[in-house]
């Protein structure tokens, strides 16, 4: 006889909050709520203990919560990030079971553990182990197990471990109806527990409940088979983290990065893979500062957490941050068989080779440093010195052409004696920039110097009165 399947479910009741606090330990101390839109009005989806102490409750309108607590931090719920986190947890769990499924709506994972009981101990033991590991990664997970997936999902919420099918009805029957989310009208007919529902004649029940509810009861007790969509691990690893507090100091980035790398290595071990190159991307709080990429290359495929972290730490030491960091992301691709032969550092780098950009630029970048070869792009701003910016080669170069303006602009406007030039056209007045603290008021002129070159000059009234040259007409 085939061994009965046993499902272990992990439920993360505070996943959205975990995603915040795992990037910043201090956020546990400040009152914080996660908001979502409930009936088009922002409401409290979840809140952390300091906020709860101030009286905030899940489900209340966001405005009411803001009224309870001065300086309450509000973050909007990010469902994509939650799904990604569940996927990464699934990657982690993959080492314990080849059959892992995601239940995103439930913030839950389910893995089949009956087959691996001899390797990892019984469901209770494995629960304790997994729960501890996930807590290390910054996720609070509740575990439970049962012979059906639906029952396991329910068991996780109530901390139950049900071993055999014949115990299902008795164990689940103890649960109060209002904690299950079955048809709410049942409570209004005077029923209190699931056991009372199990006892009802099926015909009476069928007349009164929708097919979904009936179906659910059948799946709970195993009377009806459940289709399980098994999760397939992707051939790359990527993870990102929004930082609860903006980080100014590159060493402080080590805290969130340690968690991301740990998660990656766990997932690599689960699948017996290693990486040879890792990309770290940093995002800044200023829109005008482009995200920065750091690339680490390893001599050979690895999944050693401490080794990779050592490289990360060294790389961070040399790093100057142009602005506070709000988000970090890591990405590793492809995932290599762990015993693969290492490639030489610059030769046939699989990641570079895969790009359809001219190899010359790539080589140059690799040799001279990524910053040494860049493109230009246009930015809409009336101030000429802000109407262009450096872009990375793979960014699009959208550019709005401005007639009347020279193609060549000096990096810095240069002071000049206007008496040395002949005014050809102007003035054109530019007043802009108050919103970023660089308000200016200037009159622009087209001028000619003694050698016949046509230049672009301006007279600034504020902030630095005087005459300047800014560009040259070709």
């Amino acid at each position: 006889m085939q061994k009965e399947k046993l499902w272990l479910a992990l439920h993360c009741p505070h996943l959205a909050l975990d995603l915040v606090s795992r990037s910043d330990d201090n956020s546990r101390q400040i009152p914080l709520v996660i908001s979502d839109n409930h009936k088009s009005r922002p409401g409290v989806f979840d809140c952390n203990p300091p906020a709860a102490r101030a009286g905030v409750q899940t489900g209340m309108p966001l405005n009411a919560a803001l009224g309870l607590q001065q300086g309450l931090r509000v973050l909007h719920r990010d469902i994509d990030a939650e799904r990604h986190a569940l996927e990464r947890m699934a990657g982690w769990c993959y080492r314990y079971s080849a059959s892992v499924s995601l239940y995103t709506q439930d913030s839950s994972l389910v893995l089949e553990v009956g087959a691996s009981e001899r390797l990892f101990g019984n469901a209770r033991e494995l629960s304790a182990r997994l729960g501890g590991e996930l807590l290390q990664l910054g996720y609070q997970a509740h575990c439970g197990s049962a012979p059906t997936v639906s029952a396991a999902l329910l068991a996780a919420r109530h901390g139950l471990h049900i071993q055999h099918r014949d115990q299902l009805k008795a164990q689940l029957g103890k649960l109060a109806l209002d904690s299950i989310g079955l048809d709410p009208s049942l409570a209004k007919m005077g029923f209190r527990s699931l056991a009372e529902i199990f006892r009802l004649p099926r015909k009476s029940l069928a007349r009164r409940m929708g097919p979904e509810a009936l179906d659910y009861l059948d799946r709970l007790t195993g009377a009806r088979p459940e289709p399980v969509a098994t999760w397939q691990p992707p051939e790359h690893f990527s993870a990102a983290m929004d930082l609860a507090a903006e980080l100014n100091n590159s060493q402080a980035l080590l805290f969130p990065l340690r968690r991301l790398v740990a998660e990656m290595c766990g997932s690599l071990r689960a699948r017996d893979r290693g990486i040879q190159s890792l990309q770290i991307r940093l995002f800044f709080d200023r829109r005008d500062t482009a995200p920065q990429s750091l690339r680490l290359n390893l001599q050979q495929p690895s999944r050693c957490e401490s080794h990779i972290l050592l490289l990360v730490r060294e790389r961070l030491e040399r790093l100057q941050l142009p602005a506070p960091v709000t988000r970090v992301a890591i990405k590793a691709r492809p995932l290599l068989p762990f015993d693969a032969v290492p490639d030489s550092l610059f030769h046939d780098d699989p990641e570079l080779g895969a790009q359809p950009v001219t190899p010359l630029l790539e080589r140059l970048q690799a040799r001279l440093g990524i910053r040494a070869v860049q493109g230009l792009k246009g930015c809409e701003d009336h101030r000429p010195e802000r109407s262009w910016a450096v872009r990375e080669l793979d960014e699009p170069a959208d550019c709005t052409a401005m007639p009347h303006r020279p193609a060549w602009l000096f990096t810095q406007p240069q002071r000049c004696r206007i008496e040395d030039y002949e005014l050809l056209a102007g003035p054109e007045r530019i007043e802009a920039g108050w919103w970023d603290g660089h308000d200016c008021r200037r009159d622009y002129f087209v001028v000619r110097d003694r050698h016949g070159s046509v230049l672009w000059a301006f007279c600034e009234y504020k902030p630095e009165p005087g005459w300047y040259l800014q560009g040259m007409f070709s």
Partner: protein, 1055 residues
């Protein structure tokens, strides 16, 4: 000083009525142009004249200041090729053409937009001049088109605003002018009055484009040049000839706003009769009806004085128009009542516009229409809430849509919306914007604001935060869009489109004219306000209930005046449910003021308002009324003004009279004061009035304290101005509703329940109150309940109630007391149609069971379930749980096929359904109907409460002043009135009554979570007793929600 500079008229100038584009108020533009010595200024908003009246007022003030400027009304239109055209009327005919064009463009498009094709400009504008702002300087085709359709009346505008290459632009425009024969004129294409408004202009652009200012890029103006530039600057930039041309164009525009003449509709006067004779006839007829035994000499002379004044000012048609509308309502059986400055005249009493008997209160009509204040009469008419639409449709029918339209309301930026939009545009996150918006109460005190911002995590010195504070203050009061006035109709003899542009409102089939009520007043256009009032509905329903139940024919006129029992009830503050004096603050005032006659009610209505409270007038008035303080007058001159209120100014009219008598305001100044009072909360700007008022009063020997008091009162009147003329009409409804409550409590409460939502209290509180008055209230039950709540003498015996049908089974002159049977309307989630189907199916035969009910009333499962949940099926299906169980099994019949032959529900459960406990029922009662007729929730936990030393509400009233107690109850009301400096008032309800608690700001700041969040609260505090007014001053607040897990009720929060 300007004499040597060339004259200039700006002919293209957008105000902020080109919404989210123009960055200055029309007044600011006019004042600035006048200051710069412009010859003329045309305000040319895009397809709109909405800002022109404000500009017109400012132009008049400029003339008074000695800086005259000609104001030309105009409008700008975007043509199909992107170029823009300014149209300026030469004369009155041109003005009408312009209004007609705007109306056509606006009526063709959705609210807030317009649609005009180029051909719309080709005809019907022969009295308008055109100034063209081309998109392309070399658009010769466009120039020829214009020259052809506006021969000798079109110009090409040369705008030089320091763009990239003005010299070349100038050359190209001159070329186009030569080719097309169009003359050139100068213009700055103005969008703000001074250069520093550039910031605000950028902000508005960002709001319009729904992006941040940073993201605006080239959509922002490159510079601040498009403001009203000095003539010296213009003389440098433009050839002299082009400047001179602007003055020549301005000279040809001879139309001014003051030439606008409004004509009353003529059909209110019968053919062959003049208005004054007809008004006289109607008045005489009214006199005969009101005083069949003859009118007293004093009243007769008042009528004569009023008619004379009306005739002198030419307002006959206005009174006749209102009379006509009221007459229609009367004919349809719609209750209505007039109020407002002219409504409480003897003439209006005779015409039946109001029921306020002039003999009952001694008021002077001149107070309402005054010769010296050039202020049009104002009559608002309140109609029954649900029947006002009939009145509106009557007006449209009678005068036609081209002659009647609603006035507009200009929706302006309030502080909160300004913070939101400015915050978003400056790039604050949504969460930050929410937090910023919470600081709204502190924006008028810079110091406190900066502290609050700090507490909310914003650095007040940060550049972005400072910019926000600055921009929000600018943006406040800026118009955003036009909306419809609640009920103000403008009716005219001629097509409205020749008077003012008309556009679409958001509601289908409603049209509005582009001016608001202040604009109408300025131009002397009359509007009639048709408002909706829920209490009139309730009163009408109450009369119907009384008449049907007792077989009487009671009308409003039969209600005896000055009934002592009614006043006795009012003095005890037993006023839950009545009009106006039911609020907590009013109820606290009643035992102190002890109203004993009609005029006392007028004062009661007006005194519990921000005006008198902020002016510190309440306490002195009460002291004088009780004889604890000598009645005295600030001066002999003011005795006449203040005598009727014991020397304390309470009404808005008195404050204005004080301004005239004591501060030397002229009639028109007092009128401006009155209007700025209403407007200051929206746009600020009472400071100049402050100076004028205080110095005027000091000069005439009044002391500074009194002057400041008066000014504070004026500020308080701001948003909630409450004139005596309105208070008088309201007081009448107060009296009527109190009389009904006193003598027909069951009918009155029943009518209130059928008129919900209205008033201050929820059905639960109304029902508890009427039960405390000994009226029996019966539950919702499909065997007996109608859709509405009704009166019964015994179950099922209702008589001719509601339906008006004769019921032979009901003996006339019944003796049993009236009981209230709750109607199906109390069941949440049940629609009116379903309720009425139940009612009519039952008339055929009683319901046998759920399936029978379901089949015959065509109910679906959900409707049956909500009835079960409301325990309305008790008579046919047993208790709630069983009813719900059975309801879930009911099947929808396929049409009538199986009617009657369906087997009874066969599958009763093998074991019985658990009956609900008392607490189950309580919870379900609240959830399904919002009230319970069973035990009050607190009765269930009374023993627990006793253990915790809580005393019931009824015990507290007998305690001496200063007793320390602990009280506990469900929070039914949380209030934080703006007049109370952050104090919160809580009302706690238990099974014995109410406790009114006062929570000082320091306490609630500390216990915020409990005060704002808990639904069952216990308070340790001290009883404060003043006569029959009791308050509990909180010292500590406890959250007792744990005790009442699941016993939940809702509070009506007014925080």
């Amino acid at each position: 000083m300007y004499s040597d500079l060339p004259g200039y008229a700006e002919l293209a100038c957008a105000s902020n009525f080109t919404f989210l584009t123009g960055a200055s108020h029309p007044q600011e533009l006019v004042a600035r142009a006048a200051e710069l010595g412009y010859t003329a200024l045309a305000i040319t908003d895009e397809c709109s004249l909405a800002g022109i009246v404000r500009a017109h007022e400012e132009a008049q003030r400029c003339a008074e200041r000695g800086q005259p400027i000609e104001l030309i009304p105009g409008s700008l239109f975007r043509l199909q090729n992107g170029s823009r055209l300014v149209l300026l009327p030469e004369d009155q005919a041109g003005y009408a053409q312009l209004c007609t064009l705007i109306t056509r463009g606006r009526r063709n498009a959705a609210k807030g937009e317009y649609r005009l094709a180029n051909r719309d400009f080709e005809h019907g504008l022969d009295h308008c001049l055109a100034v063209w702002l081309p998109e392309e300087e070399s658009d010769v085709l466009g120039a020829h088109w214009l020259a052809a359709h506006f021969p000798g009346r079109a110009w090409l505008a040369m705008t030089l605003t320091l763009g990239p290459d003005d010299r070349a632009r100038q050359a190209r425009l001159a070329e186009t002018a030569r080719n097309s024969g169009l003359p050139l004129c100068a213009s700055s294409d103005v969008q703000m009055h001074t250069r520093p408004r550039r910031m605000l202009h950028d902000l508005l652009a960002a709001i319009r484009h729904r992006c941040t200012i940073q993201e605006l890029g080239y959509r922002a103006l490159p510079s601040g040049e498009r403001h009203l530039r000095s003539r010296a600057r213009l003389a440098q930039l433009y050839p002299g000839e082009l400047l001179a041309e602007t003055c020549r164009i301005a000279e040809r525009c001879r139309f001014r706003m003051q030439q606008l003449r409004y004509r009353y509709p003529r059909e209110v006067v019968p053919k062959g009769m003049d208005a004054s004779r007809y008004l006289r006839e109607l008045t005489e007829a009214g006199i005969r009806q009101r005083w069949p035994d003859g009118i007293g000499a004093e009243l007769r002379s008042q009528v004569e004085r009023e008619l004379e004044l009306i005739g002198e000012l030419g307002y006959e048609s206005y009174f006749l128009t209102v009379f006509d509308i009221v007459q229609f309502a009367r004919g349809e059986g719609i209750l209505c009542q007039g109020r407002g400055s002219a409504a409480n005249s003897a003439v209006c009493y005779c015409l039946g516009i109001t029921e306020v008997d002039p003999a009952r209160m001694n008021m002077l009509f001149e107070r309402f229409i005054s010769r010296e204040r050039d202020e049009p009469p104002d009559i608002d008419v309140d109609f029954e809430h649900q029947r006002r639409e009939e009145v509106i449709q009557y007006i449209y029918r009678k005068y036609g849509r081209d002659r009647a339209a609603l006035a507009a309301t200009v929706i302006t930026y309030r502080l909160r919306s300004a913070i939101r939009d400015a915050g978003k545009a400056l790039g604050f996150s949504l969460g930050q914007v929410d937090q910023l918006a919470r600081t709204v109460s502190w924006w008028d005190e810079p110091q406190a604001l900066s502290e609050r911002l700090g507490e909310s995590g914003f650095d007040p010195d940060n550049l972005k935060v400072r910019q926000l504070v600055h921009l929000v203050q600018c943006l406040r009061g800026f118009p955003r869009h036009l909306s419809q006035h609640v009920g103000g109709f403008v009716i005219s003899e001629h097509a409205l489109a020749s008077l003012a542009p008309v556009e679409n409102a958001a509601m289908p089939d409603r049209t509005i004219i582009q001016w608001d009520k202040d604009d109408l007043e300025t131009l002397g256009l009359l509007k009639v306000d048709c408002l909706a009032l829920g209490m009139l509905s309730a009163i009408h329903r109450c009369l119907d209930l009384v008449n049907a139940f007792h077989g009487e024919t009671l009308t409003l006129a039969d209600i005896p005046p000055e009934d002592p029992e009614t006043y006795a009830m009012i003095q005890q503050a037993d006023t839950i449910g009545v009009f106006q004096v039911e609020s907590r603050a009013q109820m606290a005032m009643l035992p102190r003021l002890r109203p004993a006659c009609f005029y006392d009610l007028v004062i009661e209505v007006a005194i519990v308002r921000p005006g008198p409270i902020q002016g510190n007038m309440v306490h002195p008035y009460l002291q004088r009324r009780r004889g604890l303080e000598q009645v005295s007058y600030p001066s002999e001159d003011l005795r006449m003004v203040l005598e009727r209120t014991l020397g304390v100014p309470i009404f808005q009219e008195q404050v204005m009279q004080i301004a005239m008598v004591a501060a030397g305001f002229s009639g028109s100044e007092a009128d401006i004061l009155r209007r700025s009072m209403a407007a200051w909360a929206r746009r600020g700007g009472l400071e100049h009035m402050h100076q004028r008022l205080v110095s005027g009063m000091l000069e005439r020997g009044y002391d500074l304290d009194f002057a400041e008091q008066i000014f504070n009162q004026i500020k308080g009147f701001g948003e909630y101005g409450f004139p005596e003329s309105h208070a008088a009409s309201f007081a009448l409804l107060v009296y009527v509703s109190c009389w009904m409550k006193r003598h027909h409590p069951a009918a009155f409460t029943c009518a209130l329940l059928n008129s919900q939502p209205m008033g201050f209290y929820q059905p639960s509180q109304l029902v508890q109150d009427v039960r405390r008055h000994g009226v029996k209230v019966l539950p919702v039950d499909v065997r007996y309940s109608h859709w509405d709540c009704i009166l019964e003498s015994e179950p099922g015996v209702t008589g001719r109630v509601m339906t008006g049908e004769k019921n032979a089974a009901t003996p006339p002159g019944r003796t049993g007391p009236a009981q209230i049977r709750l109607g199906l309307r109390m069941v949440k989630g049940l629609g009116e149609a379903a309720g009425l189907r139940v009612e009519s199916a039952r008339k055929e035969a009683p319901f046998r069971n759920n399936q029978d009910l379901c089949d015959r009333a065509a109910l679906n499962k959900r409707e049956l379930a909500v009835l079960a949940e409301a325990a309305a099926l008790r008579g046919i299906a047993g208790h709630r749980h069983r009813a719900r169980w059975e309801a879930a099994a009911v099947e929808k019949a396929p049409a009538d096929l199986l009617k009657g032959i369906r087997p009874m529900d066969a599958d009763r459960p093998a074991h019985p359904v658990r009956p609900p406990s008392a607490v189950d029922d309580l919870k379900a009662d609240y959830a399904a109907t919002g009230l319970t007729l069973g035990k009050h929730p607190l009765a269930f936990i009374r023993s627990e409460l006793r253990k915790r030393r809580v005393r019931p509400a009824s015990e507290l009233l007998g305690l001496p002043h200063g007793t320390h107690v602990r009280a506990c109850g469900l929070v039914t009301m949380r209030q934080r009135p703006m007049t109370a400096n952050g104090t919160i008032f809580l009302t706690l309800e238990d099974e014995t009554g109410y406790v009114n608690a006062v929570i000082w700001p320091r306490l609630w700041e500390r216990q915020r979570a409990t005060v704002l969040g808990a639904s069952l609260i216990a308070i340790d505090g001290v009883m404060e007793t003043d006569g029959e007014v009791h308050h509990l001053i909180a010292g500590r607040v406890h959250d007792f929600d744990e005790l009442a897990k699941g016993l939940k009720t809702r509070s009506r929060d007014f925080c």
